[in-house]
Amino acid sequence: MKRRSTFLNVSAGMGFVFLYAPIIALIIYSFNKSKLVTVWGGWSLKWYAELFKNDQIIDAALVSVKIAVISATLAVVLGTLAGFVLTRFGRFRGKMILSGWTTAPLVMPEVITGLSLLLLFVAMEGMFGWPSGRGTGTVIIAHTTFCLAYVAVIVQSRLVSLDETLEEAAMDLGARPASLFFLVTLPLIAPALVSGWLLSFTLSLDDLVIASFVSGPGDSTLPMVIFSKVRLGVSPEVNALATLMILTVAVGVIAAVFQMRRQHRSKEIQE
């Protein structure tokens, strides 16, 4: 028994090291003074200064954040509707189709999604003159479509585990469908909406492939700029950028864990 748990600890420990070693190496090398990325030249914040002077990266970051905020919000609205319709509307015509369309983007290779949306935009432009050209608007539509699927899945699983008696009680008391949804269901699934929004935001901010297909020449997103910079080799500025992004996420996740534990504890005390 003892031997087995040692084996387990060592092999699992190696897994965690594997998961974190590259991230830690990246963070350490972002403080490297030397321009040769692999030669250690002492500690320095030089590349962070360079990063903030790089207008191309800053502009792309702003474009990406704007796209991510808008498409995450749209995805939450549409994904919540889809998840709600699929779990609470009973049977209706076309339910199987809607359910298939909602989950399919999850298994669709990004290259196919990107190509097919681009070809759609080009065909639509030829036929109706809209969207004229491609840019942030088309990227937002593309990101909304694939983030919608993630939101719908999260909302669906939350709705399934939700106690239906609250909604039934509201209906017995005469709540109309719209007020039932906005006053009872929506507050109950709010945590799912928050995590759906955050997941969509992250996915949109991170997407390279789909954005490369559907964005216009002037609207490079942050991943597109990073990709073109690192394709030929390691870049110290990107190391600095990566460190900032990773630390932001780490702070967010740690805060979320603490928040969850606090809620959990206060619930325990109440009980």
Partner: protein, 319 residues
């Protein structure tokens, strides 16, 4: 008896549906609500595939957009000409390059999935066996990379695996090798990249399955004289099979169509279908050929996966 059963079944969602249906005006609203996400997905998810299929039957042309149209309508002579070009598909099946790319993508994805399972299983097991704060901590350690940029995590390996990178420096300093190994721009780097980026996708479903595992069963097996290895293969593994299947699908599916990992870590000879499609589109600017590659990929790779998934879901619901 059956009447009672019927009336029991009528409560809950069905009863609500009945109430809703009785109010005609609400039924109208019902379809309005359904149609909002429905229309969005029809226009931006379903129709695009029809467009891809249509363009895969066109020919490349030096024009904007760079393909010929399938239908020509001559108003004066009332003549509708339809030209369908199957040349792209013929080329796709005649040239070994494409077949090799499809097979190689499946091979790379399968091998990477196996190693992800191998590394992920002990991690999931350890998390499932730990309690309280340790469990929360380990779980958040697995989830954290999931929220950080995928592109940057792949990029991190470039600095580690390159000729004068950390791995080679380390191996040379301990005297294991004399000259640096070429790891970056080989298939091995692609395997490492896929295993690394998709590890959380494997650990989380495995953890969910292992967490439900009843510890009493393991104790019973031991009391009855099972060796640890036997207990593992007779009890733990079969009972965690749903998690294994879910995890493997979550890794295999995106890995097959992967573009970023072979583009950054693989060599020019690392053949993967996602990359072939990308090059066909962005380098050769052959939109009809790229569409044909996508159509075949959809039929050969995506449809079977969706069927397997649906099947697994149905079985899960039945169980």
């Amino acid at each position: 008896m059956s009447i009672i059963a019927e009336s029991v079944r009528l409560t809950g969602p069905t009863l609500r549906a009945l109430i809703l249906e009785r109010l005609g005006q609400i039924k109208c609203g019902r379809y309005a609500v359904i149609s909002i996400p429905g229309l969005w997905l029809a226009v931006f998810f379903f129709i695009p595939f029809l467009v891809v299929f249509k363009i895969s039957l066109a020919e490349t042309a030096i024009a904007i957009p760079p393909y010929t149209s399938l239908f020509e309508f001559d108003l004066e002579e009332a003549l509708l000409e339809i030209s369908i070009n199957l040349g792209n598909y013929r080329y796709l099946f005649e040239d070994d390059f494409y077949l090799a790319a499809y097979l190689n993508s499946a091979k790379i994805a399968a091998i990477s999935t196996f190693f992800t399972l191998l590394i992920g299983f002990p991690m999931a097991y350890l998390i499932a066996r730990s309690h309280g704060t340790t469990r929360t901590l380990l779980l958040s350690l697995v989830i954290l990379p999931f929220w950080t940029s995928f592109l940057l995590r792949v990029y991190a390996w470039m600095g580690i695996l390159q000729k004068n990178g950390i791995v080679n420096d380390f191996l040379m300093s301990i005297g294991l090798i004399d000259t640096p190994l070429t790891i970056l721009q080989t298939d091995i780097a692609v395997y490492i990249g896929i295993v690394y980026t998709y590890l959380p996708f494997m650990v989380l479903p495995l953890y969910t399955a292992l967490e439900k595992l009843d510890g009493a069963l393991l104790e019973a097996a031991q009391d009855l004289g099972c060796k640890p290895a036997q207990t593992f293969f007779l009890i733990t593994l079969p009972l965690s099979l749903p998690g294994v299947v879910a995890g493997c699908l979550l890794v295999f599916i995106p890995a097959v169509g992967e573009f970023v990992i072979p583009a950054l870590l693989g060599g020019s000879d690392t053949l993967m279908i996602g990359r072939v499609l990308w090059d066909e589109f962005f380098l050769s600017r052959d939109w009809p050929m790229a569409s044909a590659v996508a159509t075949v990929m959809l039929i050969v790779l995506v449809l079977p996966i969706m069927l397997i998934r649906n099947n697994a879901e149905k079985q899960g619901e039945a169980a």
